[in-house]
Symmetry: C2
Subunit: 131 residues, 2 copies
């Protein structure tokens, strides 16, 4: 994949490489204390709330690969494919805004439906199927 | 929003503007006959299958705004926020590969969960709630 180095993209990729290599403490060094994260389930305010959301998610990651990474001085977009313990082939996209080397805003898009199906299946004791 | 014109991005944005302005026939002029589209529900092969998926989706669109748009000569990434008739605030991201002015590959990411909830609510006659 071609990467186009810019200030925001460098930070976004450093964050991405850290959390996808299970070094979440290092990933958090790129997160601003007052980050605002818009995730599928709603808005998260501040680094503690962000860690509470992304930390457990990083723990269930089993594989990742970048699909695309672009950015300019202030903003970067990453798209990636990941496998997780409950769901295989769970791509995500992030738009990250960077200020002074820290990510101050992140918009995350991914499909919650297969995670919801896996959760329901686990609760019922049945394997998840396509709906 | 800053836009960085490139060959692939120009085509991606022309496609985006067409479908978000409800001119789906024009949007299809940017789609290669042999497009491969990886959507949340699975892979779609060819322009007819693509139209069958995206055409009805375009019809339920009520508002759209671009969050980010980047690209190079061959690849572009768009992130956008949209409202639809069944679901408000339904952001999506696309990674598009362009060849000879046509989109030959598209990866689309969006959260199907609120659409599934709206569908279930409509089927049951009850308003959709957060799950």
């Amino acid at each position: 994949m071609t990467e186009h180095s810019t200030a925001a993209l460098d930070v976004a990729l450093a964050y991405h490489r850290a959390w996808t290599s299970h070094d979440f403490d290092r990933a958090m060094t790129y997160i601003a204390e007052d980050i605002v994260c818009q995730a599928p389930a709603g808005r998260l305010d501040g680094a503690d709330a962000f860690r509470g959301f992304m930390g457990p998610f990083a723990q269930i990651l089993t594989r990742s690969s970048l699909i695309a990474a672009f950015g300019d001085d202030a903003k970067a977009v990453l798209m990636y494919d990941i496998d997780t313990i409950p769901v295989q082939d769970a791509p995500g996209a992030e738009c990250l805004t960077v200020r002074d080397g820290k990510i101050e805003h992140m918009r995350i898009i991914f499909d919650r439906l297969p995670f919801d199906a896996a959760r329901r299946a686990a609760a019922s004791g049945q394997p998840a199927g396509d709906e």
